[in-house]
């Protein structure tokens, strides 16, 4: 058995979710690492799309920012910011959106704006960026984030991005065409929406993690699937490729 970190299994599990996808709108940080790993292993033809307007980027090392020269040099085409959002993202041309956040709630709504009150925040976070429209328009959304009671919360301090809103039916009432978050991957396990309520439900535990660990790191009364499974361990190939990506990068894997 290989030795791997909780971050590594999170990233690898997220990259597996891109198997079969044609294109992915990628946020910087954990999503970018997972998407690049998928392109080198689980989804070889995967078209990586960054909000800087680089479509079909094929970076050989992880970019530090969404606008690194490497992304533009290796892209199939580079378009303006109005064009990437209006012509490419908004009509649903990009299959999958992969997002991170500072806080998530049971309906996979995300906060990337403030911790505390909006007018006098305890911590001012970067804000919306491209996430709200990615979550609106992409047919499928994948969320990747580290889990604790501070990040998996009962009430968001600010709803920056809508996952399933207040639950079943909310997305269609809000006029959101995409199907919403299909999966959420943390460093402890994997969560999928309940088919009826759309509440994010624990469906897979990473090796060595038990249900109590996950409950202790969740700010709401967590639902656990009746068909709970264990996440497949990373293969040697997955680990080696992931580590090679990190080694060739100046990017900190912290955001």
């Amino acid at each position: 058995m290989s030795v791997f970190s909780t971050d590594e299994i999170m990233t690898i599990a997220a990259s597996r979710e891109l198997t079969g996808a044609r294109s992915c709108f990628v946020g910087i940080g954990l999503p970018s690492i997972a998407a690049n790993l998928a392109r080198s292993l689980h989804a070889p033809g995967l078209v990586l799309v960054y909000e800087s307007g680089t479509i079909g980027a094929k970076p050989t090392r992880l970019p530090l920012s969404i606008g690194d020269g490497e992304l533009a040099r290796t892209a199939d085409l580079v378009v303006s910011v109005p064009e990437i959002f209006n012509y490419w993202l908004q009509p649903g041309r990009i299959d999958v959106g992969m997002l991170g956040a500072a806080q998530v709630d049971r309906f996979a709504n995300l906060n990337t704006t403030v911790i505390g009150s909006y007018d006098r925040p305890k911590v001012r976070l970067p804000g919306a960026g491209g996430a709200p429209e990615i979550a609106t328009a992409c047919p499928r959304v994948i969320i990747v984030m580290r889990q604790s009671k501070r990040t998996f919360v009962n009430d968001l301090d600010f709803r920056t991005t809508v996952g399933f809103g207040d639950g079943a039916g909310a997305r269609s009432r809000l006029g959101m065409p995409g199907a919403g978050p299909r999966v959420m991957i943390s460093d402890l396990g994997i969560f999928r929406p309940d088919p009826d309520t759309l509440e994010m439900t624990l469906t897979s535990l990473h090796p060595g993690v038990n249900v109590v660990d996950v409950r202790d790191a969740t700010g709401w009364d967590l639902r656990v699937s009746g068909e709970l499974v264990e996440t497949l361990e990373p293969t040697d190939e997955e680990l080696e490729l992931l580590r090679r990506l990190h080694a060739g990068s100046s990017a900190k894997a912290t955001t």
């Binding site: 910087i28 804000g127 960026g129 809000l174 006029g175 100046s250 955001t255």
Partner: protein, 272 residues
């Protein structure tokens, strides 16, 4: 027609206290030298506009130039927080900063409406978010053909837009390529524009399919090679990622930042 000016003269003539100033460039081609000149000329009460405030707005905010910020993502890309931006919002240092925040798509479309001479732009966004409730420039609009309820965002027309480009030709036309962000729309939406350029060339007959802003849409051009450092100009320079990482420490402490401001901006003097 665009006038060729020194950067000092271009800023003095076109950026005034209280102006709405857009500084665009999406990671690539960020007009840092122009930002530093605005700081040196001690402009005050500016409304800064920028999708990704980046280090350039962190510096302007920390130097006390800004009263308000219109933006869509305020972080140090791949590194973390913008500490001067956070200090202004969390602690009113050096003074309070008003915000009008959007999503990238929303703010980009505000420039599109400004460039198009329309009062607003339409997009499918903001429904169910708290972003909407905190901005007075977002509203609902109903499609007259389908009845779909969509978001309207108010047109944005800056007093002046500042960008950095790879080239101007001798007639004052401006050309840039690579990641082109929202610079074309932000210049066409503005009353005035300032462009710093890496190089002045003969003409653009070799390629007119890059983004070209004709001379009569630009107010002032200043020849400032390296004027986007530590950002980059494709074909001329590489992004200095180490600088972005070093800024995290440098900007965290007010006194260290003020020391940086003194030595790296005020004492350096203007680019003439």
């Amino acid at each position: 027609m665009a006038k060729f000016l020194s950067l000092e003269s271009a800023i003095a003539a076109n950026v005034h206290d209280g102006d709405v100033v857009a500084l665009e460039g999406f990671t690539h081609l960020i007009p840092f030298a122009a930002g530093h000149e605005i700081i040196r000329q001690r402009r005050r009460d500016l409304t800064l506009v920028r999708l990704t405030p980046d280090l350039i707005c962190d510096q302007l905010i920390g130097a006390g130039c800004a009263r308000k910020l219109i933006f869509s993502w305020g972080g140090n890309p791949g590194v973390g927080s913008l500490h001067r931006f956070r200090d202004a919002i969390e602690h009113d240092w050096p003074h309070a900063l008003d915000l009008d925040e959007h999503t990238h798509a929303g703010l980009a479309n505000r420039f599109v409406a400004g460039a198009a001479g329309l009062p607003f732009a339409v997009l499918r966004a903001y429904a169910g978010t708290d972003v909407r409730a905190h901005s007075s420039t977002i509203a609902n609009v109903t499609c007259p053909f389908t009845g779909e309820v969509l978001a309207a965002v108010a047109a944005l027309r800056p007093d002046v837009t500042v960008i950095h480009a790879q080239q101007a030709d001798r007639a004052g036309n401006v050309r840039f390529w690579g990641i082109t962000g929202v610079q074309k729309e932000s210049v066409l939406a503005a009353s005035r524009s300032i462009v710093t350029v890496e190089e002045i060339v003969g003409d653009f007959s070799d390629d007119r399919n890059a983004v070209v802003l004709p001379s009569w849409t630009v107010t002032a051009i200043a020849h400032v090679p390296g004027g986007c450092y530590p950002s980059y100009a494709a074909g001329y320079s590489e992004r200095d990622n180490d600088y972005y990482e070093a800024w995290d420490d440098l900007s965290r402490d007010r006194a260290v930042f003020e020391d940086w401001l003194e030595h790296e901006v005020y004492e350096r003097g203007s680019v003439r």
